[in-house]
């Protein structure tokens, strides 16, 4: 198992290096550069020369790449102790609650892995706790508690890339998580119901609708929601239900807790729904197929022949098996959700990584471009490994070597 994870990590690193090299070389090969816009200004000669020197733009391509790589992996000049002070000084009691939760979940995970417990119900719990480990890693990175990087300076003059990305990551995380949760809680039950009522009217309509959703580009969904559920809805009925730009209202800070929650939901719903819709269709189709396959299996016939009620046959024996392949689908879909977030964020003005990415691309701010591509790449590699481990945990038959 450990050897397997190590192997996957090494392949992941190779992929990431190749990815960085390809993207970097492509940026270099294109005629344009970060200073194009400055060059239009005849009085900026000195600045151009200074920046060229500072950013090393006159160096050979490979040297620039290695400089970038060095910046990418060099720790920031912030001592760990500072990190601790920042942490406990700034966060306060309310901020500490999730941290304690995350830490205890992590400790619990480690314990669960160390102590081998054969009970079947334990496995999914243990599997789920893996997610917490990931969250801890993210949080440690963000709080600069253990390690801290800079990933170079942004070419747009707004400081270390690391800070920009982690500043935006929270927004993207909120959006992506909301979309994922929506997709799971709507798509999977939908697929199960379709499978149970195979060939019914509901099933046929569901299948056709998921085809339509699957065939619709995300920007059309996003623009459609924006126009119909926000602009035209307000125009025609005068009800302002959803907001279409940003994460929260300007008055957010003055609101009470419930009002704040309401504000978050009203901002979050439309962009998250836009991303979720395609995933809902995908999950429903996949779950339906997976469920149908299980429903025709011999062990389900055994369960029926034992005299179990139909409900129990489906909810206990069929569902558990049919959910296993979903793990892989979800991990693969993370890349799709991030892609969807890039488009949706730019449509809804959501201050996340996606919008940052588009801005960076327009400015050919390659430290930021590279960092975004790399962090998404790292996320995908991690998710694939997590999915493989989850699969092994959920399915007792799987063994790695």
């Amino acid at each position: 198992m450990l050897a397997y994870i190590i192997r996957r990590l090494v392949y992941g690193v190779v992929t990431l290096v190749a990815l960085s090299l390809v993207v970097f070389l492509l940026i270099q090969a294109s005629g344009g550069g970060p200073l194009d816009r400055l060059k239009l200004n005849p009085r900026a000669q000195n600045l151009i020369a200074q920046l060229t020197e500072q950013w090393g733009l006159d160096k050979p391509v490979m040297q620039q790449y290695f400089t970038w790589l060095k910046n990418f992996v060099t720790p920031a000049d912030v001592p760990a102790a500072d990190g601790l002070i920042v942490l406990f000084g700034k966060i306060g009691l309310r901020g500490l609650t999730p941290i304690v939760l995350v830490l205890s979940a992590g400790a619990y995970t480690v314990w669960a892995f160390l102590v081998k417990i054969g009970q079947a119900w334990w496995r999914p719990v243990r599997a789920f706790s893996l997610v917490f480990v990931w969250l801890i890693a993210l949080w440690l990175a963000k709080s600069r508690l253990v390690f801290s990087l800079t990933w170079g300076e942004s070419f747009r003059g707004d400081g270390p890339v690391w800070d920009n990305i982690f500043g935006a990551a929270g927004a993207t995380f909120r959006l992506g998580l909301a979309a994922l949760v929506m997709a799971l809680i709507i798509g999977i039950p939908l697929g199960i119901y379709q499978a149970i009522r195979q060939y019914s009217f509901f099933d046929q309509v569901g299948t056709t609708l998921s085809f339509v959703a699957f065939s619709t580009p995300i920007f059309i969904i996003a623009v459609g929601f924006q126009l119909l559920l926000a602009l035209y809805l307000e125009k025609w009925t005068g009800v302002k239900l959803f907001f279409v730009t940003g994460m929260s209202d300007s008055s957010y800070g003055d609101l009470g807790f419930m009002a704040q929650m309401g504000d978050i939901v009203r901002h979050l719903t439309l962009p998250a729904m836009s991303i979720a819709l395609i995933s809902i269709a995908g999950y429903a189709r996949f779950q339906r197929a997976s469920m149908l396959e299980v429903m025709h299996s011999d062990y389900l016939r055994t369960a029926k022949a034992k005299g179990l009620p139909r409900r129990r046959v489906i909810l206990k024996h069929a569902l558990r098996n049919a959910l296993i392949p979903i793990v892989t689908l979800v991990s693969l879909d993370v890349a799709g959700i991030i892609g969807g977030a890039i488009i949706t964020e730019s449509i809804f003005g959501w201050p996340g990584v996606g919008r940052l990415y588009i801005q960076a691309i327009n400015a050919v701010d390659y430290p930021t471009i590279m960092a975004v591509v790399m962090s998404i790449g790292i996320g995908i590699v991690m998710m694939n490994i997590v999915a493989d481990i989850l699969y092994g945990v959920l399915d007792p038959r799987v063994r790695y070597d």
Partner: protein, 334 residues
Amino acid sequence: MTDLLNRPGDGASDDAEGLAVEPITQWDLFIARLRRHRLAMISSIFLFVVIIISFVVGPLLKCDKGATECEFPQLWDHTQGLKDDDDRLLVNIAPRGSIPFGTDELGRDVLTRVVRGGQASLTVGIVTGLLVASLGTVVGALAGYYPGVVDQALMRFTDLILGLPLLPVAIVVGRLLPELTFLPDWMQSGPWGIAFLLGFLLWGSLARIVRAEFLSLREKEFVEAARAAGASDRRIIFRHILPNAMSPIIVQTTLIIGAAIIIEAALSFLGFGVRPPTPTWGGMAASGAGVAVRGFWWELVFSASALVMTVLAVNFIGDGLRDALDPTQTIERK
């Protein structure tokens, strides 16, 4: 041998056993199954019409000769209608009898642009599909048929491609394409460059599928029988394995075509795909979305509908093909 031929009824003669099925060819079966999939049939006709309109009717529309694109293409005699008496452009005209799809922000006829926009989308879809089908099949077939070093090397490379974050990479490359001077002109701008980009990003999944098919087919007894007869590797691959692996290849390719059209549209929407002024459905949706806020809904609605319906048709065809190409499927499903 003659004795054998005249052997008295062994109780096994073929007539007694009887053939359950009338003689029908695989092709007949395929067509019969496809026919039953009504949506796929309608979709095929629809897609055929779209292709004809985009590639045959589109270029026939009158354009200013020499211009790279038609600023004011005229499907019908709209030159007068599109300008008012003071020779000002009639921008954002709502659909009406003579201008059924209205005009856009620059006063261009939306119908004409929708018709011509199909070219870019379909070119990207088809070229990407062909690229993916050939690359994915070759890589998957080699990896699946030659285990060991070849398989390992090819699959590691495939994993690498599959590990790339698709949209971020497509966006950055799409943004840079026109500036990549080492590429030939036809790749730098327009649908071909995007198609090649997507083709190279999307073949991984097909390669994996083909490899898995080859791995399982290679162990099938009919392949062993061919080897026992002394057939060469080439004959085994092309006569025995590939024909049996065709259905997943075809189905996956249709899925890729749909996906490629969608991604191209997304890139154009963000401004990193086929560059204006060449009309594309994604680009029109972007500018349409801008004016739709002010109530001018038609450019968005017509371009988006064209896009969604085309992709939907491709996906329905893929679904129909999946059913029709499955040899295990009996003629029972409605």
